[in-house]
C-alpha cells in the first residue's frame, strides 16, 4: 500500500513546463491568420458617448473593423458591459478596433474621433453622500435590494462629526447581536477611532490578455482565469451561447488574486470581433490597461468604537463603514469585514452599520480575503492600544478573545467546524520568540526604532457540493479531471491527491487533466475565496470512492467473494485476506469497458451537474469512470485562521520601514501540501505588506484622472520589501467535515501579514495608531517629527 500522498511535498506536475518557458499562458497562443485588437479608453471619469467617427481609421490599410458597446449584450445596471457608451471611470474601454497588426491597430485608434458629453463625477464616497453631492451613476449612488438608488446624508450629519471623524448618516445595511449598551456598560475601557483603508489594484503579473477564434460554429477562447469550469459557463452566459459551443483554454493563469475569478468581461471583445471578422483575434492587455480594467479592492472609511474589560475581553464593537466600491456591481466586503470582526474578537455585543457607495474609479471585485483583509489591519492596532492601556500582553489579549470550536459569530450567529486559534497563537509566539522580542518594543538603536506586531486574521475555508471525475484507463493509470483553475496555488494538483489516496495510487501513475474544457472537466467551485482545497478534496475523495467501489465490485464479480473483501493499492485491486489474488487496474479498466453501465460511464448519477454529465459522457467507454457529487456532511462553516508575528525597524530620520522578521501560523486543518501552505502563508503576507505599506491610488480630484496607474507608481512589494527568510507553521488539526481534514488557506495570510505590520509600526511609534493604510513613509515621518499629517484624516485616493 502506497504511503499517503496528502501531507507530502510534491512538486506540481506543470512545474517543468513553467521553468522551461513551455507553459502557454493566454498571450502565448497563436492561430493561423491571427489579427490584433486594441482598445480605446475613456479619458473622462464620467461621460456619455455621443458620436464615434471611425471612418478615417477604417480607411487605413490593414484595419479590419471595430466593435462598440452596441455590438455587445446590454446587461441591466449596475452590471458592466465590456465596452460602454457611458464610461464611468477614466480608462473604461469604449470601443475596440482590429487590424492586421498591433501597431496599425494603435495608429488607427488615434484616428478615431469620439465625442463625449461630460457628466458629473465623484471619487470619494463622502462627497457623493453630501446633500448635493454628485452621483457616480445616472441612476444613483448605491445598490440596495437589487436596485440602484440614492442615499444622501444631511449637513447636520457632517457637522456632528467634524473634520476628523467619520460622519454617520443614513445607512443601508446593518445587523446587531447582543445588547450594545450593556456591552459598553460592561467595558472598563472604550476606544473610538476613525480609520481609513485604501483601494488598491490587484495587478496580477499576467495582464488579462485573451485570444479567440471560431471553428465549426464553436468559440475557442484562450484566456487567463482562476476557475476553468466557471469561466466556461460565464462565457456561454455572457455571449448567449450553449455550453457545448464554447471551448475555453486556460491551463495557466499568471495570478488573479480575485480579479479573474470567472475570467474577465473583456474576453467578449476578441470573442465577438473574431466572429465578425472570421479571423482569430488577439487582444493584448497592457499594464496600463490592466490598471483600469483589472479590478481593485474596495476602500473603506470606518468609525470604530470598541469596549474592553480589564482582563482584555472585548465586550462590544460598534462599527460603521462607508465603502467605495467603484462604478459597477455590488460589494459585500464591508459586511464580510463586520462578520469577521465579530468572529476574531467574540464581542458580547456588536452592531454594524454601513453604506457602499459608487464612485467613478476603476471597478472593484473580491481581492484576496475580501473584507477580512481590510478589517484585520484596521482593528489589530486598536487591540494593541487597548492592551497597552490595560497593561495586558498583546498576545495574551488575542488569546483571551480568540474563538474556539463552539464560538458563533456574525448576524446569523454562524457556527464553526473547528477553531484552533489559541493553538496557532501559542505556536507562533514560541517560534517567533514573542516574550523575548517584546522587550525590544520601541527600542532605539541609532536611528532605528524597533516595533513588534501581531496580526490575527480569518476567512471561510471552503465550500462544498461540487463534482469529482476520475478515469482509470486501460493503461492502468489514474486520470483525475479538474474543473478548477491553475492560478498558482497548486491546488489543482494537491486536491487531486485525495482521489489518489482513496485508491492507494502512487503519484507517478496519476495524471491531472485541467485547464481545457475540451478535455472533459467536471463542474467545480470558483477557484477563489479559499474554497478549492476543502471543496475539491471532498469532490475528488467522492469520485475516488466511487471508482474504488466499482473496482471492488468488478473484482468480486470476476474473482468471487463480496466487494468488501477487496482493497485497492499500487494500481491493483486485491483480496484483503490474500493480496496475491486480484487484478491490475489495467485489467479492471478493460473489464469496466466490457461491462459498460455505470462502470464505464454509460450510466451516471442523477445528482451531478450538467457540465459533469457532458464530460462524463465524453469519457464514457474509455475506462473505469469514478464520478460523484460531494455529498459529505456540511453543517458548520470550515473557517481558517492565521496568526502573524512581525518585527520591523522604523528609521526615525527617514520614516522608512524595514520588515526584518515574519512568522505566520495557520489553522488550516490537515496540511495537504506543506510547501503549498508555506507559499500561501508567505505570499499572502507579502501582499499584506504591500497593502500595509505602499500600494495605493492617487487621483487628481479636479479631473478625476489617476496618477498611480503603473507598477512603479502603484508600488506592489518587491524582493527587498520583506524579510530574507520567512518562518511558518500550521496547527495541522483535521477539519471534521472534510474527508482528508483540509481547510483552505489562501485568504487569511494576507490580513495577518498586513495587520502584523500596522501593529508593528504602531508599536515602534510608541503605541500610536495612525489609523490609515498604507502607512507610507511620509505619514510615518510626519508622526515621528510631530508635524501635521500630509493627509486629512478621511482623505482617500491620496
Amino acid at each position: 500500500m502506497a504511503e499517503k500522498l496528502i501531507g507530502q511535498d510534491i512538486a506540481p506536475p506543470d512545474l517543468e513546463t513553467k521553468v522551461t518557458g513551455r507553459a502557454r499562458f493566454a498571450e502565448d497562443f497563436r492561430a493561423e491568420g491571427m489579427v490584433f485588437a486594441k482598445l480605446l479608453l475613456s479619458p473622462m471619469p464620467h461621460a456619455r458617448v455621443r458620436r464615434i467617427d471611425a471612418s478615417r481609421a477604417l480607411r487605413m490599410p490593414g484595419v479590419l473593423g471595430i466593435l462598440t458597446a452596441d455590438d455587445l449584450p446590454d446587461p441591466e445596471p449596475p452590471s458592466e458591459r465590456p465596452l460602454t457608451n457611458e464610461p464611468l471611470y477614466v480608462g473604461e474601454p469604449i470601443l475596440a478596433l482590429a487590424a492586421v497588426d498591433e501597431t496599425t491597430a494603435a495608429d488607427a485608434i488615434e484616428q478615431i474621433e469620439v465625442d463625449l458629453e461630460t457628466l458629473p463625477f465623484v471619487l470619494d464616497p463622502l462627497e457623493s453622500l453630501r446633500p448635493s453631492g454628485p452621483n457616480a451613476r445616472l441612476e444613483g449612488n448605491t445598490f440596495v435590494d437589487g436596485e440602484v438608488t440614492t442615499v444622501k446624508w444631511t449637513e447636520a450629519d457632517y457637522a456632528a462629526a467634524g473634520e476628523d471623524e467619520l460622519p454617520m448618516g443614513e445607512y443601508t445595511s446593518d445587523w446587531s447581536i447582543g445588547d450594545l449598551d450593556a456591552g459598553f456598560a460592561e467595558a472598563d475601557l472604550v476606544l473610538e477611532e476613525t480609520v481609513v483603508h485604501q483601494s488598491l489594484t490587484h495587478h496580477p503579473l499576467e495582464p488579462r490578455s485573451c485570444m479567440a477564434y471560431w471553428q465549426n460554429g464553436k468559440l475557442h477562447l484562450f484566456g487567463s482565469t482562476q476557475s476553468t469550469a466557471r469561466t466556461h459557463s460565464a462565457l456561454a452566459d455572457m455571449l448567449d451561447l450553449e455550453l457545448d459551443d464554447v471551448v475555453f483554454v486556460g491551463q495557466y493563469c499568471g495570478g488573479g488574486f480575485g480579479s479573474k475569478i470567472a475570467g474577465s468581461p473583456i474576453m467578449a471583445v476578441p470573442a465577438l470581433l473574431s466572429r465578425t471578422l472570421g479571423r482569430p483575434v488577439m487582444l493584448r492587455i497592457t499594464r496600463y490597461e490592466e490598471n483600469y480594467i483589472g479590478r481593485a479592492r474596495p476602500a473603506q472609511q470606518a468609525r470604530i468604537r470598541m469596549g474592553w474589560r480589564k482582563d482584555g475581553k472585548v465586550t462590544a464593537i460598534d462599527l460603521y463603514m462607508v465603502q467605495d466600491h467603484g462604478p459597477y456591481g455590488s460589494s459585500g466586503d464591508h459586511q464580510a469585514a463586520s462578520a469577521i470582526a465579530s468572529l476574531m474578537y467574540q464581542p458580547h455585543a456588536m452592531r454594524f452599520r454601513g453604506v457602499s457607495i459608487y464612485t467613478n474609479t476603476p471597478p472593484r471585485s473580491a481581492q484576496r480575503q475580501p473584507g477580512g483583509g481590510q478589517i484585520a489591519p484596521m482593528l489589530e492596532p486598536l487591540m494593541d492600544k487597548a492592551a497597552r492601556e490595560l497593561g495586558i500582553d498583546r498576545v495574551e489579549m488575542r488569546r483571551v478573545n480568540a474563538p474556539d470550536h463552539d464560538s458563533t459569530f456574525g448576524p446569523g450567529e454562524s457556527k464553526l467546524t473547528t477553531a484552533y486559534v489559541r493553538e496557532a497563537i501559542d505556536i507562533g509566539a514560541e517560534r517567533f520568540g514573542w516574550s523575548e522580542k517584546t522587550r525590544l518594543s520601541g527600542r532605539r538603536d541609532g536611528t532605528k526604532l524597533t516595533g513588534i506586531g501581531v496580526g490575527l486574521s480569518a476567512f471561510v475555508g471552503g465550500s462544498f457540493g461540487y463534482d469529482g471525475l476520475v478515469v482509470i484507463r486501460p493503461d492502468g493509470d489514474l486520470y483525475i479531471h479538474q474543473g478548477t483553475g491553475n492560478l498558482g496555488t497548486h491546488s489543482f494538483a494537491d486536491t487531486a491527491r485525495a482521489a489518489a489516496d482513496v485508491l492507494g495510487m502512487p503519484w507517478d501513475r496519476c495524471h491531472v487533466i485541467w485547464g481545457d474544457t475540451a478535455e472533459h472537466l467536471p463542474w467545480s467551485s470558483y477557484q477563489a475565496g479559499s474554497q478549492t482545497a476543502h471543496a475539491h478534496s471532498r469532490a475528488n475523495h467522492a469520485a475516488g470512492n466511487d471508482a474504488k467501489r466499482k473496482l471492488q465490485e468488478i473484482a468480486a464479480r470476476d474473482l468471487g467473494g463480496s466487494p468488501e473483501a477487496y482493497e485497492t493499492g499500487d494500481g491493483r485491486v486485491f483480496r484483503r485476506s490474500n493480496p496475491t489474488q486480484g487484478m491490475s487496474f489495467a485489467q479492471a479498466a478493460r473489464r469496466a469497458i466490457e461491462l459498460g453501465g455505470a462502470y464505464s460511464g454509460q450510466e451516471l448519477p442523477d445528482d451531478i451537474h450538467e457540465m459533469t454529465v457532458a464530460s462524463a459522457q465524453g469519457l464514457a467507454g474509455r475506462g473505469l469512470i469514478g464520478v460523484a457529487k460531494d455529498n459529505y456532511t456540511r453543517e458548520n462553516g470550515p473557517w481558517s485562521f492565521m496568526m502573524g508575528f512581525a518585527l520591523v525597524e522604523v528609521d526615525a530620520e527617514t520614516g522608512e520601514v524595514e520588515i526584518k522578521e515574519y512568522t505566520g501560523v495557520a489553522d488550516c486543518g490537515t496540511v495537504l501540501h506543506p510547501r503549498g501552505v508555506a507559499a500561501q502563508i508567505h505570499g499572502g503576507a507579502v501582499q499584506g505588506f504591500g497593502m500595509a505599506r505602499s500600494q495605493k491610488w492617487v487621483f487628481d480630484p479636479k479631473w478625476g484622472v489617476p496618477f498611480a496607474y503603473r507598477l512603479y507608481t502603484a508600488r506592489p512589494p518587491g524582493i527587498l520589501d520583506g524579510p530574507l527568510t520567512m518562518d511558518w507553521a500550521a496547527v495541522s488539526e483535521p477539519d471534521p467535515q472534510n474527508p482528508v481534514g483540509a481547510k483552505g488557506i489562501g485568504e487569511p495570510p494576507l490580513g495577518a501579514g498586513a495587520a502584523a505590520i500596522t501593529s508593528a509600526i504602531a508599536d515602534a511609534l510608541g503605541g500610536t495608531c495612525l489609523c490609515r493604510t498604507p502607512l507610507t513613509t511620509d505619514v510615518i515621518l510626519a508622526e515621528l517629527e510631530g508635524r501635521e499629517q500630509p493627509y486629512a484624516k478621511l482623505d482617500t485616493h491620496v
Binding site: 512538486a11 506540481p12 512545474l15 513553467k18 521553468v19 522551461t20 518557458g21 507553459a23 502557454r24 502565448d28 479608453l41 458617448v49 455621443r50 458620436r51 464615434i52 467617427d53 471611425a54 471612418s55 478615417r56 487605413m60 490599410p61 490593414g62 471595430i66 452596441d70 477614466v90 492586421v100 497588426d101 501597431t103 496599425t104 494603435a106 495608429d107 488607427a108 485608434i109 488615434e110 474621433e113 469620439v114 465625442d115 496580477p204 503579473l205 495557466y252 499568471g254 495570478g255 497592457t286 499594464r287 496600463y288 497548486h490 510547501r675 508555506a678 507559499a679 508567505h682 505570499g683 503576507a685 501582499q687 503603473r710 507598477l711 506592489p716 524582493i719 520583506g722 524579510p723 530574507l724
Partner: protein, 212 residues
C-alpha cells in the same frame, strides 16, 4: 440599443447606424494605450500606415542559433522573440521595464527584453528561457533547483527570475540571500514567493558548485 451615432463610412450619404444627435458637440478626446507595439511585417506586406518605417532582414544569434528575421526599427527584442521567433517563454508583464518578466541574457548579462530594440542586439548572443536546458533536455541547475524547491506560484515571473539568477550565479557562485535579493530586485513576483525564490537560488548555487 443606444442613440450613439457611429460613422464608419465618410462618403456622401454616409451609413450611420444611429440617428445623429443634433446640438453642440463637445470636442472629444480619446485615450488609447499604445505600448509594446508590434507590426507584423512578414504577415502584412504593405506600406506601414503612419510611422514611415520599414523592416530590415537581420540575423540574430538566439540560443546558439542564427535566426534570420524581418525587424522594424522600433521593434523590441521581447516582441521579436515572442511574435517572430516563437519564443513565448519570455513574458510581458508591464511593457515598461517595471517587472522583469521579459528578462533575457545578452552576452550573459540580464536585460529587459521589453526595453531593448532588436536592432541593438545584432552580433550579441541572446539567451532566453528556452535556451537554458541542454540539447539532451537536461535542465539547467537553476531550473532543477526551482523544481526541487517546488518553487513559484503562478510562475509568470519565473522565466525572468530564472534568467536573472543564471546571470547572478555566473558572476557570484556563492551569493548570500541578501546579495541575491539585491541582484534579483529588478524582477517582480506578485504572488510574493520571494522567500522560496531565494531558497531556490541557494539550492541552485549548490548544484552549480557541484557541477563545476
Amino acid at each position: 440599443m443606444s442613440d450613439v451615432e457611429i460613422v464608419v463610412d465618410p462618403g456622401p450619404g454616409s451609413f450611420s447606424r444611429r440617428s445623429f444627435i443634433k446640438g453642440v458637440v463637445a470636442a472629444g478626446a480619446a485615450v488609447s494605450s499604445t505600448s509594446y507595439l508590434f507590426r507584423a511585417t512578414s504577415v502584412f506586406a504593405v506600406a506601414p500606415s503612419a510611422r514611415g518605417s520599414v523592416a530590415r532582414l537581420i540575423t540574430l544569434r538566439v540560443n546558439g542559433q542564427d535566426r534570420r528575421v524581418d525587424v522594424m526599427p522600433q521593434e523590441t527584442l521581447a516582441m521579436t522573440l515572442r511574435y517572430k521567433l516563437g519564443l513565448t517563454g519570455t513574458k510581458l508583464g508591464c511593457d515598461r521595464a517595471e517587472c522583469g518578466a521579459c528578462t533575457v541574457l545578452l552576452d550573459g548579462v540580464p536585460h529587459y527584453g521589453c526595453s531593448m530594440l532588436t536592432h541593438m542586439v545584432r552580433g550579441r548572443a541572446v539567451t532566453t528561457i528556452e535556451g537554458l536546458a541542454a540539447e539532451s533536455g537536461e535542465l539547467h541547475p537553476v531550473q532543477r533547483a526551482v523544481i526541487d524547491e517546488g518553487g513559484f506560484q503562478c510562475a509568470f515571473c519565473a522565466p525572468g527570475f530564472i534568467m536573472s539568477t543564471v546571470a547572478l550565479l555566473d558572476e557570484n557562485p556563492s551569493p548570500s540571500r541578501e546579495e541575491a535579493a539585491h541582484v534579483l530586485s529588478g524582477n517582480l513576483c506578485r504572488c510574493g514567493d520571494y522567500s522560496r525564490i531565494l531558497d531556490s537560488v541557494v539550492r541552485a548555487a549548490e548544484y552549480m558548485r557541484r557541477v563545476s
